[in-house]
């Protein structure tokens, strides 16, 4: 009886896009810019060449990994805003390993991957400890630690890890070649990084759908008191969820250093941690929608710098597009529920 008219369903499905388009156009007009030119530059900047498409694939990797992690913590009913700091921690751990460990070249890449997983996971323990023993809401614990992580990055780049020629905003010395992720042809995309990201989202999909731990997490997310009475160790599983999320996000941060910049730079994450939370919201917390949403977000990310270069517009227009889609998606979803309850 809750079946809606097909035309209404179609319209409600399209409405977030339409509303985003209308409101973003309005913002552009208010800013005195030509909207068509702006959209043209955005699309051209994202898709005009093979190299651009490779850039999209490159941007998809960290976003996909962080989003895969966020699916785990969202399932457990946690808002892990600290995923940003976990990405940074993965990048820091990787840089530390590359700079301080001498290993056979063949072992270097596996070590960097491991370092990313461990760095992000350890940062997850930190958030989890504050959440469970400290009884601080994970939003504030994670957010505070994000600022600490980025200050730590700057400290390391301008302090102990500065290049011999003096510290600059361009970061540490480049990594040795053994620590570079292999790329596809002359592009910046790395097949190994893409493979890792795909593996992560597939694994999370099955963990949440088919495993006992997935069920435990969902029980925890739906009703923590009931889960506790059923004998689920809530503290342990909260920390575990944050550690797994952190490991995946940390790998994303690690790949930012080994696959893209080949060094540690300030703001190594490019804000992908915060963005991944929007991705997961727009996916309706469903793993199967994440790749599509990640593709859309990454395209906007790759296309928007051109607004700055060609039109002197702030590239934050990309963020406005991404944020508006998610906002209108939530609002339209609410409208749909509202219509259902009025009928029911």
């Amino acid at each position: 009886m809750n079946k809606q008219h097909p035309a209404l369903r179609f319209f409600l499905g399209l409405a977030p896009m339409l509303l985003t388009f209308v409101s973003t156009t309005l913002v552009l007009v208010l800013a005195g810019a030509n909207p068509w030119q702006a959209y043209g530059n955005l699309i051209g900047g994202a898709f005009e060449s093979g190299a651009k498409v490779a850039d999209i694939a490159t941007a998809m990797v960290p976003l996909m990994l962080a989003s895969a992690g966020m699916l785990i913590t969202f399932a457990a009913g946690l808002w892990n805003i600290g995923v940003e700091g976990q990405m940074i921690a993965g990048a820091l751990m990787t840089t530390w390993v590359v700079q301080s460990i001498t290993a056979p070249p063949a072992l270097m890449l596996p070590l960097t991957i491991l370092a990313g997983l461990v760095g992000g996971g350890l940062w997850g323990i930190l958030i989890g400890a504050l959440r469970t023993w400290g009884r601080i809401n994970e939003i504030f614990a994670g957010l505070g630690l994000n600022f600490v992580a980025s200050a730590l990055t700057n400290y390391l780049i301008f302090g102990p890890w500065r290049p011999p020629g003096g510290a600059t905003m361009s970061g540490t010395l480049p990594f040795p070649r053994a620590a570079w992720m292999p790329t596809i042809g002359a592009t910046r995309a790395s097949w190994l990084a893409i493979l890792l990201a795909v593996a992560a989202i597939v694994a999370v999909y099955f963990v949440l759908r088919d495993t006992r731990w997935g069920l435990v997490l969902k029980a925890l997310g739906k009703n923590p008191q009931a889960a506790f009475r059923m004998g689920i160790d809530t503290r342990r599983n909260i920390i575990l969820a944050l550690v797994v999320c952190g490991a995946l996000a940390g790998l994303g941060g690690s790949l930012q250093t080994t696959a893209i910049y080949r060094r540690l730079i300030p703001q190594i994450t490019g804000g992908y941690g915060y963005l991944s939370q929007l991705v997961v919201l727009l996916s309706g917390l469903q793993a199967r929608w994440v790749p599509l949403v990640v593709f859309f977000f990454a395209s906007v990310q790759v296309g928007s710098p051109r607004l700055e270069l060609r039109m002197q517009l702030d590239s934050s227009l990309g963020g406005i597009l991404q944020g508006s889609v998610v906002l209108f998606f939530l609002l339209v979803n609410g409208l749909r529920r509202r219509i259902e309850t009025m009928r029911g």
Partner: protein
Amino acid sequence: MSQTLVTETLRSVIASSAPLVLAGIGEMLNERAGVVNLSLDGSILLAAMAGFAIALVTGSLTLGFALAMVVGALIALLVAFSSIVLFQDQVAVGFVLTLLMADLSSFIGRPYVRRPGPSVQALPIPGLVDIPYIGTVLFDQNLIVYASYLVIVLSWVWLMHTQAGLRLRSVGERPEAAYARGIHVNRLRFIYTAVGGALVGAAGAAYSLNVKLGWSHRHTAGMGWIALAIVIFGGWHPFRVALGAYLFGALKSLGSLLQPNYPNIPTQVFQAAPFALMILALLLVSGDLAALELYLPRRLRPLVHAVLQGTPPAALGRRFEQT
């Protein structure tokens, strides 16, 4: 000589804490009614930008503050609307708005970056300013700072000593009971969310027109998150929220006073300090650290307890299905 230095420092602490006071009290009001407006960090940015831009273009500070308050109220109402009417999670909508409004402020505010503009004029209160010690600290300020005092006192009187305040608290604590007594739960929630949002917007304008003058990319540097944390630290009580804001302001200016004396400490430590401090403050009021109270001398316990303990409104963040 050092006495004037101390009073001057305290005076600037009071002045620079005014935005945090306004935002903290504003958010406290809507949280007391049961609505979390997580969007503070983005709302304050957009309000700070809009307030400065309008004041610059029209030359009217009043218009600047008015627009900033409208911006803050509208964003807050959107959070309330999506929760009350559209069944959406307040935290999710608030988070999305945080990022969206921050980006909007960068995009729209670009023409106003680093442009010199108007600021609030000093207005010492004759007579009061001559009181030894506290005269300079409290009354050699301007209208915005005096408004922040008024907001603290009025919110306390309203919340704790009026019938309307009792209704407000009941809506946040036990909406079912309030509704049974004939209170329009959701209408009150809309009203207080708008009032709280307007104060948050005023905080933005108070920042760009009175503390760190002008506009730049991410101008308010995480202030919204600090304000949200201060509401928790302050146990949802007006005086304690204000105390938290002033303490924070004092520690921050202590940091910038000390920084030149310790060139060996990397500047990044001072950048991260406010947020590390935020975590520590929350640990103090909510974690197992709170049990340290038991080790205090018996006579001190009630005082410390009154300053540090607080429980959130019971229905905070929960929808109320009004039939």
